[in-house]
Symmetry: C2
Subunit: 285 residues, 2 copies
Amino acid sequence: MSLTKCTQENISRRDLLTKGGKLAVVGAAFISGGGLALAGCGTDSNGGNTMEGNSMTSATNSAQLPWKYVKLSPQDIKKAAELAHENWFQGFCCYAVLSGIVTVLREKVGEPYTSFPVEAFIFAHGGTAGWGGTCGTLIGAGIAASLATGAKTGEAITNQVMKYYSETELPIYKPDAPKAELKTVSRSDTPVCHLSVGKWMKKEGVGFLSAQQMERCARISADMCMKTLEYLNLWADGKFMATTKGPVMTNEIPSQNNCTDCHGDKIPQTSGKFGTGLDLLKAGH
Amino acid sequence: MSLTKCTQENISRRDLLTKGGKLAVVGAAFISGGGLALAGCGTDSNGGNTMEGNSMTSATNSAQLPWKYVKLSPQDIKKAAELAHENWFQGFCCYAVLSGIVTVLREKVGEPYTSFPVEAFIFAHGGTAGWGGTCGTLIGAGIAASLATGAKTGEAITNQVMKYYSETELPIYKPDAPKAELKTVSRSDTPVCHLSVGKWMKKEGVGFLSAQQMERCARISADMCMKTLEYLNLWADGKFMATTKGPVMTNEIPSQNNCTDCHGDKIPQTSGKFGTGLDLLKAGH
């Protein structure tokens, strides 16, 4: 089984749901807004999971997803983006995206957003506690999307936001009150903080925790906040469609889609066949 | 400014708090359980932030961190670990760690854990929606630690758990009811899913979503669940001490500590000086 299938394959949600065979079923389990429910979880009418397992009983209503979401106006989205930019300087990237969205939903919806502890996710900055892994903006996007639409659609939206993050010259957003002027934009080709910010810093000619790098990451927080809300608004209108599978399905390992950037021509082979353990999931374990 | 300082430096929380100069202040801002509060956030007696910014007003009590934590018994921790292993097969790695801890805290503490929507974090599996970034077990650990101790101590605990994850031959935990037998353990040298699971799969000779890989990730979920609770119990006794800085401080970019594994001898130089934008944070922006 090789890891050479690095080209992101476009696939619609309809494709996923109508394709037969094991792979399509796995795709549904991992990334679609419908199809196979995870063992022990039901699927509500909005595509979110509702837990039925005995390990999570006696939860009150706000433990159930999705929470209420109302379609936001362009003015609401602008406000969320401005908050994301501003809040980066309070709690960095994950907190920035999440607090931007949650603050507006507190005003438009109220509970349970009002009681949601957004500061519990500050740790996810800098690729998680500064370890350079997944960009915190994408963790914040995933949390907000999952609260508003449920676990499955939330993951499908997260995947789309990650694809956008990886393929787009960023940052785009111009805040009302920038903290620094920026010369350059860059395409990361990855959701990984270390690579994304490193490429941009090299192009801009600045170090980490420079005024420019901080402003860049604050603007990208606004960009991911807006993109997440764009997808949430589409979902509210019944128009959200996943256009891509998660890379784990294409490459048969959790991965980016630019294998050669790290591996060169020597892309490793995995030793065993993909998906042979799925009977465990289908059996409820 | 070079990225060659890849050796993880041991540093105590006391060192961070007593060292003068800009770097020590940044260290405190990013990773310590005390010291500099983020602009706009106060610090409560438990080291958690309490939001004062006008963008997050009218939040109810459960939006404030930390939530109540009670020291867990060895039996409680065993139960959480068993749940983490079992719940991996319900919602994968991040959900596994988080639901293992939250389920036990629902029983021991009750609210607000009872109302916390643990399914909103399923998306973080497979290095976030299958993109191979930060291992989801570490996101789950970070959320649980931040809920129980607040944003700053939560991040310090997360950093310690990530160091343990990266430096330890895993998995260690032996569940009561394993879904597969495993031959090997491996040291990841990284918190990144793609590298961690890829190295283990190569050593074990199996593919992704094989019964063995699934069992390995379920057992590591139990391992990270137990390690997080070990630190939370130390914290409850007033004995938690951060022994290491986040790699962002050592390497001056969000990063792992094994630079040469990817870069070989050609470790890139960043173009600008680290930390020159910190006046923005000190000024409250």
